[in-house]
């Protein structure tokens, strides 16, 4: 193999591996209801089940996307690193579905964190029914609450 070809191959390998590095290095970012990046879901977070209060969570994380079950559950969202921007643009056009990723925090009657969890799913996307994703995500939240009650 000529040195020129070897240089091209090395350059391609460098580009490919740098892409992998970037993808692996990207955090799975949990975001607030206002779109503010909060923390990487793969890292330890300050939540102390049984101790952290609702006020502390809100002061730290800001407003959630939704408040479910009369304030017993705060719903934030997260963005998976595997969903790069190009795919997020193309996927709804190609498949007609959007992925949703939720970070959920449940509180007991004393206002302390009793449970946290992540939920993801798919929702049909259409121009006329932009609320479909919200409805299906709300159903996923309700299912998560039911699972907690059953435990």
């Amino acid at each position: 193999m000529g040195s020129r070809a070897r240089q091209v191959l090395l350059a391609l390998f460098a580009c490919a591996s740098s892409g992998c590095f970037v993808l692996v290095g990207q955090p799975d970012v949990v975001v607030s209801g206002t779109g503010r990046p909060l923390f990487d879901k793969r890292e330890d977070f300050f939540v102390d089940v049984g101790k952290t209060t609702r006020a502390e969570m809100l002061l730290q994380l800001g407003q959630p996307f939704w408040v479910a079950d009369d304030g017993a559950v705060l719903v934030y969202a997260y963005i998976r690193s595997t969903h790069n921007v190009v795919w997020m643009i193309i996927a709804p056009i190609v498949s007609g579905t959007v992925d949703f990723e939720l970070y959920l925090v449940q509180f007991d009657s004393a206002g302390q964190v009793s449970r946290t969890g992540f939920r993801s799913g798919k929702a049909t996307w259409s121009m006329s029914e932009s609320l479909d994703a919200r409805r299906i995500a709300a159903a996923a939240v309700a299912e998560w609450i039911r699972q907690g009650a059953a435990q």
């Binding site: 970037v22 290095g25 607030s32 206002t34 923390f39 809100l58 002061l59 730290q60 800001g62 408040v67």
Partner: protein, 126 residues
């Protein structure tokens, strides 16, 4: 020639490291505290009543624990130099057409049992 090749490889490795480092960290929004927060929202003076905060900032975007926690979505008023509430019909929670561009600040206020301001968190989003 050998030195140049080594230098180029070192630069490449450094570039890859910086790229992965930059992407690995979650960007943090600016938290505003102290005097700066009071200049933007005078009602955030410790010990102020819930009524005083609502009178200045209007109806909260969210209300939890029977009004002990109030959340506001705010934007900067260029003329007054203070923060004002974003109209409810353009907030992400109230409208089907999400209008993030209006919301510049996220404020969470916590009151004590007597309805006096205990803690707050004011974050500049953009």
């Amino acid at each position: 020639m050998l030195r140049l090749a080594i230098a180029l490889r070192a630069c490449g490795a450094l570039a890859l490291f910086l790229a992965s480092w930059g992407c690995a960290s979650v960007p943090q929004a600016t938290r505003i505290e102290g005097v700066e927060a009071l200049q933007l929202v005078p009602a955030l003076q410790a010990g102020n009543s819930r009524e005083a905060v609502v009178l200045e900032l209007g109806t909260p975007a969210r209300e939890l624990e029977s009004g002990r926690i109030l959340c506001f979505l705010l934007r900067r008023d260029a003329e007054r130099g203070t923060l004002v509430p974003v109209p409810r019909n353009v907030t992400p929670f109230e409208s089907d057409q999400l209008s993030w561009r209006w919301v510049e600040y996220d404020l969470v206020t916590v009151f004590d049992a007597d309805g006096l301001l205990e803690r707050f968190s004011l974050v500049q989003l953009w």
